[in-house]
Symmetry: C2
Subunit: 114 residues, 2 copies
């Protein structure tokens, strides 16, 4: 498993991206989805995830709907209209960041920096 130190900073964008693709999700499902997509390499911790979700909600980037399921509360998070406009920019930024990291870690042979 990848040390989550690396995850710092990109967690927010990952959450937004998943909500965009998958539609409304609850916190626990987000951790499952990320673990599944990365074959167990990235595991979100609840201590990091829930505060991020709450913050995005307070910023009106996410909205919530709660339901009681099996006597357990389940809070679904979904992108607001504002969230939809934010997520596009965030994904673009993360994509560029990934490309930049690759350029450092695995430079394309013959790549000309100038």
């Amino acid at each position: 498993m990848i040390s989550n130190e690396l995850l710092k900073g990109s967690l927010k964008t990952i959450v937004l991206k998943l909500l965009k693709e998958e539609g409304p999700m609850h916190g626990y499902a987000l951790t499952q989805k990320v673990e599944e997509m990365t074959r167990g390499k990235i595991k979100l911790t609840y201590g990091a995830l829930y505060p991020i979700l709450h913050k995005l909600e307070s910023e009106k980037i996410l909205g919530t709907a709660s339901e009681i399921r099996n006597n357990r509360i389940r809070v679904y998070y979904a992108l607001t209209p504002k969230g939809h406009s934010v997520v596009t920019e965030k994904i673009k930024e993360l994509t560029e960041f990934i490309e930049s990291l690759q350029q450092i870690v695995q430079p394309k042979p013959g790549f000309n920096y100038a």
Copy 2:
């Protein structure tokens, strides 16, 4: 330019990778190199870079040699033997992290999570 929020966590590995590939470098040169390699998309700030360098030095992962150049001090950082063994692992971890991020942001079509 990419917001350095994303950089949190990977800065250390980037520094180690560059010192492995380029040999001893001083702090200012590291900022230049990263900016050049990422075509200006990643800019290291000194407030983030120098504390990291000092910390890696205190952990014996980096060693230093100073020289006076044009009446300005220049501190060269280089991997110690311990640093060489650490950097390999760190780069592997960062590579896996990049792959995982890509799997989330740009999933390969037909990829089977199971």
